[in-house]
Structure formats: structure tokens, C-alpha cells
Symmetry: C2
Subunit: 625 residues, 2 copies
């Protein structure tokens, strides 16, 4: 296979690929994120491009109109590069290349002060320790490395210490050049501490950890300084693996077909790019980034590590690893300090990963006397319920509808997305991220919109469009479609069906968990909701559509990106990391896929809000909008 050069317009980005790869893959390699839902199977028709110059084979489809075909439009997922190609990407296909770190997008990457985070003592997983050592004499003649180790054990309380061969090689010279005043970079693992590097003088100020939430849809990073725990930079982008599908299962299938290395390369590339952007903006040397601490669902972590995922999607759904050992970051291709480390927040099971463990730590659910619940809505919904005595977790495959995927006008929560929809004086109004023209609708807007449509009788409780219910409802082939006035953004019957499927999957899982435990909704002291909805989720609307149960709104808190928050706690404190392990040990994983009643509950939840309206009606009295 030969090498081809693919140029993408309007950005002019050029990428080298082997002939035969698809234009969609080439765009992914160029770091360009594209709208597509089906995972590159030529079904959703969202990844249109026009070939301006050069040849591709394939790419035509019955989804494309004759006009499209005449204009050189192809489906980029089906078009294979055949020699050098220049392709133009329409605005509708291209999504923002990264979420802008502006006020609006900060909702993705900010801490949510609404949750009181537990305080841990400052013991970063990788840290710098300054030491002024006694100089050796005939009476104090132990080896250089022993001198450093003794001081290190004293300073950190660790029980045993190691030093790598590379550090040993340079140690004598560094000690003597600096008059025995050095800064040691060391990483912790339980009661063991290992020296990664030794530098002259005091360089404690130059130590950072990149904390990463490796989401199926977005990758979010914070750069934290180890000396004072300050978050100095934040960055986020779409997970470039989206080129292989929006859903976890689609990506696992892609990994089986193309090799997991392809998926690893993409997410590692994302993290490297984000870290580089953060250090450049913060004017920090890449060499001062001592570690990457990741949290993510089990499959994303497997992709990051390049581990086979085949058995995760096959009965009995077995991961390779749940508690990942601390690694050299370079071993997976992460570009930070040469000897830098990679830590992964431990997960619970194949479908309940470290993102949820992080969420438990961040909400403190595992330490409360009364029973609480956390629902983390992602491409998979993960649910935890419990208290200081016990914890039970399960997951449900929700699909990407509530994150803006599998909804025709859906988009991620970036500039141009409708994030809120509400009625004001009988009129349907909306709010756009960045206040510009609406380009689509993100998760929080989608929940609002369906709630408004239900309230206005545009859809009935079964989720079916009602003819003549509203002037903005149109029917095509007997299937309804509602357009938000003045926006051009609409919702179809397929969209509504997908949203109902997603919320029903979550609600059914929640209901079964509680039934099994013989607990009712009113027993819940707190209900935390986490996820990437784009905007702050409107709790009352989430209840109206039956995503959340009808308990008093005061008990429900939007907790934000708990995956990132928990990982940050762990990065900054070995105690927090140990607590994550305790959480894992304490949690029972309950596999819904092995139960019969799930299908029944799922069916009952396919109404708005539910077949059993009593679950929502009575307790909604104190709701606020």
C-alpha cells in the first residue's frame, strides 16, 4: 500500500495516510472531529464531504441525493483514499475541534462547588521532595542511594523505597554538584515510594499532574500543581475514537476488526494534545508534568492501555483488568516527563469503571449513614446506591441520545448548542451556548425540549407525536417532527424514541436495584446526577420525562463531572487513592444483563414519565423550574 497525502478544507490540514483508509479515518488522524453516529457504517449519513481533488473509491450511498452526488459529495466513512486527495468538510459535518475554554464551555471542565468534597491530606501520587542531606564522612559512609532513601522514608512516612537504575547512574554527580541539596521526584504505591528523578537544588515549584477524564464522548483534562494543589489549566476535546462509533460496543467491534492499537493511538493522541495545549498556555515545561491520572469507563481504559476488549462485550462480560497497576506513562505513548507515571482510578467491573468509583469518592456517598444514589449518565448509564455499610452498582446501555448523539439535530455541548428550552408567556424559548445562532441541541436542551413537548401535548405519554397539537409540528410519512420556533432545530419521532430508550434504560436499572434491595425512592437521602449533558441539567424536566424519580428536588443534586473530580482527589492524595480501592472492595457489581425483570421494567419505563405515574406524581410538589 502506498502513502497518500490528504488535505482537508477549509482548514488546510494535511495528513499522511496509507492508501485505502477512509476519509473519515484520515480526518480523525488529522485531529478533525466529525459528526457521525453510526460508527462508520454508512448508515447515518452525517459524515458528508466533497472531494475537491484526487480520487476516492466508494463513498456513494442511497442516503445521498442525486444533487449531492453531482456535487462530489461522498460519505467519508465509505470513501477510501486512492492517491493524494483534497476534501472539503461542510460546516454541518465538522464539529468544533475542541471545546473552547470560554465561559460557556467551562461547564464541561469546571469543578462543581455544589458538592462538598472530602478533604484529604496532601500526598500527591507523584511529587517532588526537596532535601538537604548530610554530607558523607568516614563515620557516615553509607551509599549515596541509602542517604537519599533514608531521608525520603523520613519525609514521606513510606515504608520502603526504590531507586531506578537511571537515577542511580546520575545520583553521585547530582549530589556532589549541588552540595547535597537536591529535589527528588518520587511516586507512591501503597507504602512503597520510588525515586524517578533527582535534580540539583529546589525545583518543587516545577511539579504538575495532568488529571484526565477519559470519556467515551469527551476527554477532559486539568493540570494541577503538586506543591499547592492549584488547578492551573483546563482543557477538553472530543474523543477522537468517535470515528469508530459513538457507542462503546461499536468501538469494541472496531477494535476487534482493526486492532486495539488504532483506538489506543487516538485517545493517547487526544491526551497528548490536551496536555501540550495546557502546558503551553501555562508556560510549564512538559518535563515538569510528572504523571497522568486517569479515570474512565473500563473499556476506555482498556483502549488507553491497548488491552483486548473482546470479552467485555460477550457473556459473561469480563474485563482484563479492573485495578490497573501504576505504569510508566511512556509505555502507552503518553508524552510527559520521560520517567513520568500513569495512574488509573480502579474500576468495579466491566461496565462500571473508575469513572463511577471517582464519582462515589467525589460525592462521599460511601461515607453517609443514610442511603444515597449516584446516576452517571454517559453513553452508558452507571448507577450506584448505598451508604457507609454497603454499595451496589449496575450499568445500563443508554446510547448517546442524552449526550446529544443519536438525535438528528443533536450535538455536543459546544458553542452554538441549544442548552436550555423553556416556555415563557406561552412561547417556547431557548438559550444557546455562546449566544450565537443555534447549530443544534445538546443533552440538557434535549431533556428540556422533550419535557416542554410533553407539557404542551405535542407528544403523548407514549412519546407519539399528536397531529395538530401545535403549529410547529409537521408530519412526514405519518411521522411527526417539531421545530423549535426561530431556531431551525427540530426533533423527530426517531429522536424521541431514542431519548425514551435512553431514559427508560436508566430508570429501569434504578428501579430494579431498589426493588432488589427492598428500598423505595423515599428512602434515598440524596440523589446525585452526573454526566456530560452540555448544560446544567434541569432536574424538574428530567423528572417530567421520567429520567429521574419523583423525589423532592431538594434531595437531587447535579454533581457535574464527578469522574474528573474523584480522579483529581486521588491524584493529590494517596489516601484518596487508597479510599478508591476500599470503595471497589466494598462494592457489589450487579449485572442487569443477566436478569429477566430488566426487560419488564424497561418496557414499563417506555412511557413519559412511566407506566406507573405514581412514581412521579405525588412527590413532585416542591419542584422548582
Amino acid at each position: 500500500m502506498g502513502h497518500c497525502e490528504v488535505k482537508f478544507l477549509p482548514s488546510g490540514k494535511i495528513v499522511q495516510v496509507e492508501s485505502g483508509v477512509t476519509l473519515l479515518e484520515a480526518a480523525g488522524k488529522a485531529g478533525i472531529a466529525l459528526h457521525h453516529l453510526c460508527g462508520g457504517h454508512g448508515q447515518c449519513g452525517r459524515c458528508r464531504m466533497s472531494v475537491v481533488d484526487g480520487n476516492v473509491s466508494g463513498g456513494s450511498s442511497s442516503i445521498l441525493s442525486a444533487e449531492d452526488t453531482d456535487n462530489g459529495i461522498v460519505l467519508s466513512c465509505m470513501a477510501h483514499v486512492d492517491g493524494d486527495v483534497t476534501a472539503e468538510i461542510p460546516d454541518a459535518t465538522r464539529v468544533g475541534e475542541r471545546i473552547e475554554l470560554d465561559e460557556d464551555a467551562e461547564r464541561f471542565i469546571t469543578d462543581f462547588p455544589g458538592i462538598a468534597l472530602k478533604e484529604f491530606s496532601a500526598k500527591p501520587l507523584v511529587t517532588k521532595i526537596y532535601m538537604e542531606l548530610d554530607k558523607p564522612t568516614l563515620d557516615s559512609n553509607y551509599a549515596d542511594s541509602d542517604r537519599v532513601k533514608r531521608q525520603l522514608l523520613k519525609a514521606t512516612g513510606a515504608k520502603s523505597a526504590g531507586i531506578s537504575l537511571e537515577v542511580l547512574k546520575k545520583l553521585p554527580a547530582v549530589l556532589r554538584d549541588s552540595d547535597f541539596a537536591v529535589t527528588v521526584t518520587a511516586f507512591r504505591c501503597d507504602s512503597y515510594i520510588e525515586v524517578l528523578d533527582v535534580e540539583k537544588g529546589d525545583s518543587r515549584e516545577c511539579g504538575y499532574i495532568a488529571v484526565v477524564d477519559v470519556g467515551t464522548t469527551t476527554v477532559v483534562t486539568h493540570l494541577v500543581r503538586t506543591s499547592d494543589m492549584a488547578t492551573v489549566e483546563k482543557e477538553a476535546c472530543f474523543n477522537a475514537q468517535a470515528v469508530y462509533g459513538r457507542e462503546v460496543t461499536a468501538r469494541i467491534m472496531a477494535a476487534e476488526k482493526k486492532g486495539v492499537e488504532k483506538l489506543q493511538e487516538l485517545v493517547v493522541g487526544d491526551i497528548n494534545r490536551l496536555v501540550l495545549e495546557m502546558v503551553e498556555r501555562a508556560e510549564v515545561a512538559l518535563d515538569d508534568v510528572l504523571a497522568v491520572v486517569c479515570s474512565g469507563n473500563t473499556t476506555m481504559i482498556h483502549f488507553l492501555l491497548g488491552l483486548p476488549t473482546d470479552n467485555i462485550r460477550r457473556d459473561p462480560f469480563i474485563a482484563v483488568v479492573a485495578d490497573v497497576p501504576s505504569l510508566n506513562a511512556a509505555d502507552v505513548g503518553l508524552k510527559i516527563k520521560e520517567q513520568g507515571r500513569l495512574y488509573v482510578v480502579p474500576g468495579i467491573g466491566s461496565w462500571v469503571g473508575g469513572d463511577l468509583t471517582s464519582g462515589i469518592l467525589a460525592t462521599g456517598l460511601h461515607e453517609k449513614e443514610n442511603i444515597s444514589m449516584l446516576i452517571d449518565v454517559g453513553t452508558n448509564g452507571e448507577i450506584i446506591v448505598g451508604n457507609s455499610d454497603w454499595l451496589m452498582a449496575c450499568s445500563a446501555s443508554t446510547g448517546p441520545a442524552l449526550e446529544g448523539g443519536s438525535v438528528e439535530c443533536g450535538m455536543m455541548g459546544e458553542r452554538g448548542a441549544i442548552e436550555k428550552v423553556f416556555e415563557s408567556d406561552g412561547k417556547v424559548e431557548f438559550q444557546v451556548i455562546g449566544d450565537g445562532e443555534p447549530a443544534g441541541i445538546c443533552g440538557s436542551g434535549i431533556i428540556d425540549l422533550l419535557a416542554v413537548m410533553l407539557e404542551k401535548g405535542i407528544v403523548d405519554r407514549a412519546g407519539r407525536f399528536v397531529e395538530g397539537s401545535d403549529p410547529d409540528v409537521a408530519f412526514v410519512d405519518e411521522r411527526g417532527k417539531y421545530t423549535i420556533p426561530g431556531s431551525g432545530v427540530f426533533m423527530t419521532q426517531d429522536d424521541v424514541d431514542n431519548i425514551i430508550t435512553a431514559k427508560a434504560a436508566i430508570f429501569a436499572a434504578v428501579k430494579i436495584m431498589l426493588d432488589r434491595l427492598n428500598i423505595s425512592f423515599s428512602d434515598l437521602e440524596n440523589l446525585y446526577i452526573a454526566g456530560g449533558f452540555g448544560g446544567f441539567i434541569n432536574i424538574a424536566n428530567a423528572q417530567k420525562i421520567g429520567l429521574l424519580p419523583g423525589i423532592p428536588v431538594s434531595k437531587i443534586q447535579y454533581a457535574g463531572n464527578t469522574a474528573l473530580l474523584g480522579a483529581k482527589l486521588a491524584a493529590m492524595s494517596l489516601d484518596a487513592f487508597s479510599e478508591l480501592r476500599e470503595i471497589v472492595a466494598k462494592t457489589t457489581y450487579f449485572d442487569l444483563m443477566g436478569t429477566n425483570d430488566y426487560v419488564e421494567q424497561f418496557g414499563q419505563a417506555q412511557f413519559l414519565p412511566h407506566t406507573d405515574i405514581s412514581l412521579f406524581a405525588t412527590e413532585n410538589s416542591d419542584n422548582e423550574t
Copy 2:
């Protein structure tokens, strides 16, 4: 610099080198061991070669006769290769390339059953564990690596376990291909255990550890099977670093000048060659050698690891590391199983290394109620005294005389070496290793010979030759020389001086240690002597020349290669390895170089046996020959 090809006759071995290297260095690179004592400084005249073809620059010397020069003889340490060269190595220059594993040479590499070794439970540092795992189900759905780790912790009693990324990558396939019956290769470090590899089925029989005594003069290895602790092969060779000098200090200076990597390359090459020879003879796959466990003096270990040694020879004599962390064997260039480990027996100080710690463990001196002493005679003499409550160690620079170096007819204990000299019916007789023609004399023979010469009045108590004392004594330039009748092997005044210096250095160190501790020789319950003398040392003769004090012979034991014995115990038992660490923690290192009385004691010991003859005379009554 260009590349040159150097061919050595009579073997015909060819080696590629850069132009400008010496013929001696080229021979070292070709794996040919040569006689030379001065460390390549043109002083000893032992490394003669004749240049048959091609050019060298330098190499002439006043040591060489006119006839030598006419015949193309050069000193190979001074002759720099200038283009392709063919050089012939005379028999007298060449030493055996490895010690033959015959009955005679086995004295180097055998266990000495004279010492009762402590029994430790079998817990090899790296081992293979066979496990038949329960297969995963929906109810038993933990990750593959957790399944293995749980079983591993149960089987070994370790407290925490890790698995490398490479093993994680292959783990799911190996488990499922083998129906969950696998053999795990794992290494221990305190209470931690790490999986290095996982294989289908039961391969426990295919696990070996190479135990190595990295001596300044010889490198000795045993291949031990981990399943039953059986020693299946043995091998030994001369340390190829001899090209840079016989003494430790000469090699440190060479490392400073040429780079420590040169010395590392040589000793790593030696170990690789020995291991390869052992596995080939034992018909074992190199991939089944799971670890190398080394013991050696601190400088040799630094060379093995490629660590700077500059500060070891400079006041206050500081090593980089005394307790070396467990490493990947591949990191230093050792060629065993790809993921195999390297363990080093912990040492006490810069001049008292893991070879002595091993010796303490092997003799069990640290567990006896009464006070014992161990003298390890090498190029440096190391002395330990103590009991179950305390241990004190020191070292003395002895030079290589007692190992057959710095003695004109001296050689190592290989075939052809005179290993015993004794009087029988008034005649001086000798015994040769391999029973052939004598080619020289090794350490045990040297001690015997000096004792016989003293007994016969050939030398006086000051070590000076007595004119007319024996028909076989000749005088040249007023300096005596005694030839053993019928052997052609002789001893000169310089030789005697060197031997006396060596034994005086050791005895002075022994005496000072005891004086400081206010202990007399009669307080010693046991005295162990270890070292590479070639043959079993004759204790009575060692006392006659004043190497060993005059305590009853029944209290003195020749312990053999305790460096290797101790390392083997450690390799086969984590408990033994931990005990080595306890020994280190318990031992006080006493630096003779910082004391004034050493010079005085050294002076007093320069007589045969000593200025103070009472130290030897009275208690010698029960000696046997």
C-alpha cells in the same frame, strides 16, 4: 577512526575493533583471557604477543629482550592496532579460556559440604506457579487479572500483586486457550509479587535461576532449577575485566578513563557466555532462565550495573548503592528470559560487598551464640567478626598474590597449576591440578610453598632468602630465587615480598578488629576462611606463614566459595534474601583506611609468621598437616 580486523593465532579467533585499541583490549573483546598483572601499564611484561601480519604502533619495551624484539614480540597492552593485524599468542601468555568443568576444576565451583547450610523454606525469588482457575460466570465476573492475582496471593502468601502491561495484553487469550489452567512466572520483592509472564498449561519444570559470583578474578555460575532447587549445571571463567587490571582500584581508574560501560560490557559478556554454555549443556531454553542472582564486591556490582565508581576509591569512599533494587535483567544487557529479573545480594559498604554478606549467611556466623570470624581472601580481603548479637566488618587491600597473581609463576587454579607443595622424606614434592606437567602455581600451592621454604630455612622470618640454604636456591643480583625440584616453577624475592604484603594486610586487619573489640583469638569459636585459592587451603601452612592466627585447627574451616553459596540460598528463598538484609542492617562497617594503628599492625605482620610469635606458637599444638 577506522575499523580493523584482528586475528589471533593459534585459535584463529577474529574480532572487529576500532583502530587505536590495544591488542590486549582486542583479545579481551575476543573472549581470550591473557596473563597480565599490571593492568595494562607495560610493567609486568606478561602479555607478550608476536605480530605475524599487519602493523601496530607501540608495544616495544625495555622489559623485552633484543631477541624478543627481533622476533616481532610486543607487549600487547602497549601495542595499538593500526589496520588489520594477525597476532600470535604464546602459550605462556594465554590462560585457559574457561575453567574446565572437570574433577580438578570443580573445586572452584562446587558446594563445600563442610559447612552446614541453614535450611530455608523453598521460595525462589522468581518462580513458576501453576494454577487451575475457576472459569468466569455472570456471578463470578471479576477481571481476568484479578482472578489470577487472587489465586497468586493465596498460593504464595504475598500481600500485594502486580501484573505488567505486556502480560495483561496476552492474558485473556492465554487463559481462554488453556481452559484457565496456566503457569504464572512471578518475582518476589518483600511482600509484593509481580507477574512477569503467563503460559498455557503446566510449565513449572521449565524454570531456572542462574546464580553468579562476580569475582574480581573469576566469574562463577550455577544453574539451579526452581521446582526442586537442584543445581543442574556449573560454569566459570576469568573476569574479562582483567584486561583493565587485576586489582579493583586499577579497574576503577580504567572506568574513569574509558567509561564504566567498557567494564560493564565485559562482565555482562562473561555472564551471558557462561549462562549460554550452561543452558546448552543442560538442554534448557534460554527463555526458561527466569533470573540472575549475583553476589560480588561493591565495585564489581557497580560495574555490572554500569554505575560510576569514582567515589569508591576516594575519601570518604562512598558507593552509589549498597542494596540494589530488583531490576529487569535486560536493563543491564543480561540475556535470559526477556522479562527476567536481576537480583543482587545486598552489601555492607564500599569495600565490604554482597560477597561477604553471602558469606555470613552461608556460614551462619550471624546466628551463633559465640563469637566467630570469616576471612574472605580475594584481591581484597574482607573480614567479619561477630555473633547473633552484633557483627563488625572491615576490608584490607591484599593484592592478588594469594590468588596466584603478582607472583611470577603464579596462575589461577586451572589445569597445570601446582596446588599443593609438601615435604616427604626430606624431599619437596608437589601436586598438579589434572596431574600433568606443572605450568605454574596457584594460591593454595603458594601458601604451601612459602611455608615449606620457611620450614627449610630457605627464607628467614623476615622473608629474605638465605644464601646456601638449599641447592635449589639461586641468587641473581643478590636476590634469591627458589625452584621447586623437578617442576621449573620458582619463587623469587619479589614474589615472597608480595605474598607477605598480602598476608600481613589481612592479619593486621584481623588483629585490629579484635583489639578494638577487646577480644583475643582464643575467644573465637570458629574461624572460616573463604576465597579462590585454587585448591583446598592447608590451614597449618596458612598459620605457619601468619595468614591465619595460631588457634586450634579444629576451630578453622575452609568454607569454599561462600559468595556463591550465600547467593544460591538467597535465590532459592525469599526468607534467605530477607535475612541478608537483616545481616546488612546489623553489621557495622569499620574503615581501616581511617586508622593510624593499621600501619603499625601491618608492619608487625610483615614477618613470618609475625613479629609477636606468641600469637602463633603456643596454640599450634593440635595442628595436623
